[in-house]
Symmetry: C2
Subunit: 163 residues, 2 copies
DNA sequence: AATAAATTATTTGAGCTAAAAAATTTTTAA
DNA sequence: TTAAAAATTTTTTAGCTCAAATAATTTATT
């Protein structure tokens, strides 16, 4: 019986991951790391992290929002937003307001500097995907969507509560 | 002229991301968040994070290794490994050794407790992918590989130096 | 009206991540 | 042999993320 480099006896042996499986896991790790490296790069060049930029762009697109709504758009938990907003406030890019009749609610809004940054924003990481997909035929895009849906399905991700 | 909910004039207008593009970006975020949620879950149930478990399994598979090699296998930078190893050492699952003739090199090895954990390890996140892919036909797997390769290509990921 | 339940934002704690700087050691060159 | 360069690990720093607990407020119930 012969074995391959991963120790598989053969391609039908399901005890160990196949090469395809390894490639897929590797690619997912690459996607994650790409976003980590990108945020470091952004921060160095523009003194704004990916999360911060994302937050600014959301506020620019949707107008002033409370942290909970920002969290929904950013797809993170709202305790994460608190920290992001803290750092943006420290840089004078956003400010916290209390103007809702419900006094629990705080509204975050862009300052002039924040708007300015939004208008001259460096590309968020998504831009690379957006640009890349522009030259991609629809059929292929659908294929990518299907592939990713299979993967997210496998990871049994509970739905992100985006209201 | 009509606009859709994302403000697109029509499907050939390339100024804004299409729905497919949004779905793809959303899915990638889901993959990342799934791995974050999984590590929290692991930590709660087994007092070991995903990164820590990964490190343990690598040491079990390849034997004692210096941090730099662990980093290669884990696909992270070695500064990250330092912290992971610190926490594992604190739990008595690994130990740092200085046994190389090259005295800069530190070797990390599993303790008995560490080996024990490796043998009775809870599933790493990859297991969900591995299991999910088992019931997937080869053609589809290849499709997933192709899709992910397109995406990692777009993100212009510099090759992770896996030696 | 008083109490209980729900909601919103924040704090705290643990962990991951990478860059940059510092420390250590080996190798190379003068 | 000694000084400079290169390699490697560790430390430091800054940021993101989430869960859980807390505080403040509002809504619902009794």
């Amino acid at each position: 019986m012969s074995t391959d480099s991963s120790g598989n006896l053969n391609t039908t042996d399901k005890k160990f991951p196949s090469d395809h499986t390894k490639q897929i896991i590797f690619s997912i790790r690459r996607l994650i790391q790409a976003s980590e490296l990108y945020t470091k790069e952004l921060n160095k060049k523009y003194q704004v992290s990916a999360a911060q930029l994302n937050c600014i762009l959301i506020l620019y697109e949707y107008g002033p929002l409370p942290p909970s709504k920002i969290a929904n758009h950013m797809m993170v938990k709202s305790s994460t937003v608190t920290g992001v907003v803290d750092r943006l406030e420290k840089k004078g890019l956003v400010e916290r307001m209390r103007n809702s009749p419900d006094r629990r609610v705080i509204t975050i809004q862009l300052t002039e500097a924040g708007k300015n940054l939004a208008q001259n924003a460096p590309p968020p990481i998504q831009q690379k995907i957006i640009d890349g997909l522009k030259q991609t035929e629809n059929a292929k895009k659908e294929q990518i969507v299907r592939s990713l849906n299979m993967l997210t399905g496998m990871l049994d991700v509970r739905d992100l509560e985006v209201k």
